[in-house]
């Protein structure tokens, strides 16, 4: 098959794949229905303070798998739903930020700076329109970057990286994530170490189970779902409960929003915000491609660069950044949304997740057969069809469709999602907890797995108590197995050379990079605390 035929086959896999139902005799493709449902769920979840996209992805993945099964046909509908959530959530996060000065997701904090003043001036609908336009433009730009770059990254890796280099690359990714997530490299490293210890329990090559303290319960190790849902969701819910204990639940009562004046977005205004969208999309896309940095930094950087530009070109009489400038909303929303496409570059090219959302994409492909992210996916094999490549183009088609849904219906769903802000946390938290345990039980029907999930939940709570980000833990847990494997393989492939990590320049550079990243992050932190 030629490259063009692969692209067409991927599109066909989505459009002519299994049908969800028939509408007037026309079969409606299941994958598209799932993408649509994912986007709507994502917008609602993003608009609910206390919930986030990755949370919804975590809960829905086991439920989706128990529903669709493990066969390759399940891949596109399941991934379509997850990607829909990922894309919808960034859009939805702007809603409470603009309307109620409460960011729905952490990366929407910067949106409150100009979004809420706009609402106070009676321009909330206009602000939502700006957020919608910028968010979807940034997202689309980032997806295009993914489509173009992922195959090249994958091919480069296949050509230049051998077992030792792959091991070194994993070490570099983990130290990078430890250093940049959460603001404290020390705590990040501890988080990574805890994740590695947890994943190494019960595994190993010997028959005798490792680190199991002689107990049968630990001999099989922890399953990935109990660890991740526990640390990421149960931990967050426990922390929220504690916060609720300390302060009264304010999310039930909100002031009324009164809009006045013209709420339309004029052509001149679109042209005014376009350069800010472009600039932020580029920043967000570049940041998204690096593992671990994530949307919050992209939003902050996009906002800062937007402000610098605005100072030079601010129109006469227009509000400054922070006082309700539509350019401020545009700069933030374009930046945080343009992370979502490019963060799949390391996922598809290397099999390395860069943030929490990507973790669930990797988990979905790990659980469902027929698709293993990594260099071999992008082989444009001519004589026999490389089904994995067809699936990649199917995935790209699903992403484009998600963007289309965001472009067309996203605005209306954003306005409808305002209702989610009024859901009180005391109602929301038990529902999330129940759904989480149901999801774990659906995948592993044993009481043991529920206890493990609760145990990891307490660990996640304690980590949050000491300001330690649980994300390095999660990514270390996901990558731990690959790290051990590739290290073992590198050792035996080099004929038992104990210094295999220093066997090539590329791997030495990766190792040096991992040390330098941590040292630089520590210095940066010290400089910041001295200044403070």
């Amino acid at each position: 098959m030629q490259p063009l035929e692969y692209i067409l086959a991927g599109m066909q896999a989505v459009i002519f794949g299994p049908a969800a139902f028939e509408l007037l005799g026309v079969p409606i493709p299941l994958t598209l229905v799932m993408v649509f449902a994912g986007v709507v769920t994502g917008i609602l979840v993003g608009a609910t303070p206390g919930l986030a996209g990755p949370m919804a992805m975590a809960i829905s993945l086991p439920i989706l798998i128990s529903f669709f099964g493990y066969n390759v046909e399940a891949l596109l509908p399941v991934l379509g739903f997850l990607i829909g959530i990922m894309k919808g959530a960034t859009l939805g996060g702007a809603v409470p930020a603009i309307l109620f000065n409460t960011p729905g997701t952490p990366d929407a904090y910067m949106t409150t700076l100009d979004g809420y003043p706009l609402t106070q001036r009676g321009q909330s609908r206009k602000a939502l329109k700006v957020a919608h336009l910028s968010s979807v433009s940034g997202d689309t730009f980032s997806d295009i970057a993914l489509f173009v770059c992922a195959p090249f990254v994958a091919l480069m890796v296949e050509r230049h990286l051998d077992f030792p280099e792959k091991t070194a690359l994993l070490i570099l990714s983990l130290s990078f994530i430890a250093a940049v997530i959460g603001g404290s490299p020390g705590k990040g490293l501890i988080s990574v170490a805890l994740g590695l210890i947890a994943v190494f329990i019960g595994g190993g090559e010997d028959f005798y189970p490792r680190l199991s303290l002689g107990t049968d319960a630990l001999a099989g190790g922890f399953s990935i779902m109990t660890a991740i849902l526990g640390v990421l969701i149960v931990g967050a819910v426990l922390k929220e409960y504690e916060d609720l204990w300390h302060r009264s639940n304010l999310s039930g009562a909100r002031e009324r929003i009164v809009d006045h004046g013209d709420q339309r977005l004029t052509r001149a205004e679109v042209l005014r915000i376009a350069p800010y969208i472009g600039q932020s999309s580029l920043v967000g896309t570049i940041i998204g491609a690096l593992p671990g940095i994530g949307t919050t930094l992209a939003a902050a950087l996009g906002y800062q660069l937007g402000r610098a530009r605005y100072v030079r070109r601010r129109p006469e009489g227009a509000p400054a950044f922070g006082e309700g400038a539509i350019e401020g909303v545009a700069a933030t929303e374009a930046a945080n949304s343009s992370v979502s496409g490019s963060n799949l570059i390391p996922v598809l090219g290397l099999g390395i997740p860069g943030n929490a959302a990507a973790v669930f994409i990797i988990l979905a492909t790990d659980s469902i057969g027929g698709f293993t992210p990594g260099p071999s996916v992008f082989r444009f094999s001519e004589s026999v069809v490389n089904t994995e490549l067809v699936l990649v183009f199917g995935l790209f088609t699903a992403m484009l469709f998600a963007n289309l849904v965001n472009w067309t219906f996203g605005g209306a769903f954003m306005r409808a999602a305002t209702v989610m802000v009024r859901v009180p946390k005391r109602t929301l938290l038990p529902v999330v907890l129940l759904l989480t345990f149901t999801a774990v039980y659906a995948q592993e029907p044993s009481m043991e797995s529920l206890w493990f999930t609760l145990g990891f939940g307490i660990l996640g709570y304690l980590m949050r108590k000491v300001d330690m980000s649980p994300l390095p833990f999660v990514i270390a847990f996901v990558l731990g197995g690959s790290l051990e494997n590739s290290a073992r393989q590198a050792f035996s492939a080099t004929g038992g050379d104990p210094y295999f990590l220093f066997s090539s320049w590329i791997s030495i550079i990766f190792l040096a990079g991992s040390v330098v990243t941590v040292v630089l992050a520590l210095r940066q932190k010290r400089t910041n605390s001295t200044r403070a």
Binding site: F207, T372, P375, S383
Partner: protein, 316 residues
């Protein structure tokens, strides 16, 4: 191949005839837990889940598939110890768990600690190299190994690693043998150029048909279906083979009626190409092969003895 299938079918016929009266009487006393000794996803897991699905449809049983991967199936065998022997707990793994896996004694189990039920197919094990290397025969491979640095050869199970080592020893070449995870892991490493060769158990057939991979040696006791000219291990002076069956087994002392009914029902499904499971086996392995009863027991006994010898030979 056909001859072998016919032989299997006749053997199956005998075992079914002998146990038909038992089979008619047995129904599971409760929901069944079907362990799968492979990680979720992948061809082996799909095979197991499709068989479970078909059993549920045909007989109305309730079956919960549960992945219990690790140590080439030994973790699942351990799971069987202490499990109820009434037919409500059994699992699918590979025959290597019962022969090579238990031969060195560290698992503290012997094949007698489980009840073999039925095989589903024989894995088409072949020594495979990427076509880009230009090696057409095993002699080409040996010549390349003698000419340069030690070649890197992957192995997906410890038994395969030992046989690979003996094959190299017999040919007088050094190889760096590297363990990889499953057929998919092996193919990724071969395509990426991280490995030069390795025994693959069926996952390679698509690549061979595409001309991207070449089969140099048959790991089985019979010829390869795609490359019938490739030598057998015996032809290369290695007196062992890699006949690896996918097979079901249950806890020790399993109820005879349950064992017979399960063997009969599962073999009907795997030999029927109109079922999804049968079609998958046809596509990946050339078809199902259901061996049960005494013939299966005899195979396990002989391969357990042979595995002990293999271990001894490889450690010398």
């Amino acid at each position: 191949m056909k001859k072998f299938l016919a032989f299997g079918a006749i053997a199956l016929g005998y075992s079914i005839a002998a146990t038909a009266s038992l089979a008619e009487d047995w129904t599971p006393p409760g929901p069944i837990t079907m362990h799968i000794a492979f990680p979720p996803g992948g061809g082996s897991d799909s095979q197991a889940r499709l068989i479970a699905e078909e059993l549920e449809t045909r007989y109305g049983w309730t079956i919960t598939p549960q992945n219990t991967p690790g140590k080439a199936g030994l973790i699942m065998a351990k799971e069987m110890q202490g499990a109820p022997a009434d037919g409500t707990v059994f699992g699918i793994g590979i025959s290597e768990a019962l022969d090579y896996g238990m031969a060195d004694g560290t698992a503290d189990m012997t094949p007698d600690d489980v009840t073999p039920i039925v095989t589903t197919t024989l894995a088409e094990v072949a020594f495979v190299v990427p076509a880009s290397k230009g090696w057409k025969t095993f002699d080409d491979f040996v010549a390349a190994a003698k000419a340069g640095a030690p070649l890197r050869v992957g192995a997906i199970t410890p038994k395969i690693a030992d046989v690979t080592y003996l094959m190299g020893k017999e040919a007088g070449i050094d190889m760096n043998i590297t363990m990889v995870k499953g057929g998919r892991g092996m193919l990724n490493a071969l395509y990426a150029g991280d490995l030069d060769a390795g025994f693959v158990a069926g996952a390679h057939s698509k690549g061979v048909k595409a001309g991207e991979l070449v089969e140099l040696v048959s790991g089985m006791s019979r010829k390869l279906s795609l490359t019938p000219d490739a030598p057998l291990l015996g032809d290369l002076g290695v007196p062992y083979n890699l006949d690896i069956y996918f097979m079901y087994f249950g806890p020790k002392g399993m109820d005879g009626a349950a064992q017979a009914t399960l063997a009969q029902s599962i073999s009907e499904i795997v030999l029927d190409e109109s079922t999804k499971a049968g079609a998958l086996l046809k596509a990946n392995f050339g078809g199902g092969e259901a061996i049960s009863g005494e013939e299966l027991q005899a195979f396990i006994d002989s391969s357990f003895a042979s595995a002990k010898e293999l271990m001894q030979a490889a450690s010398e």
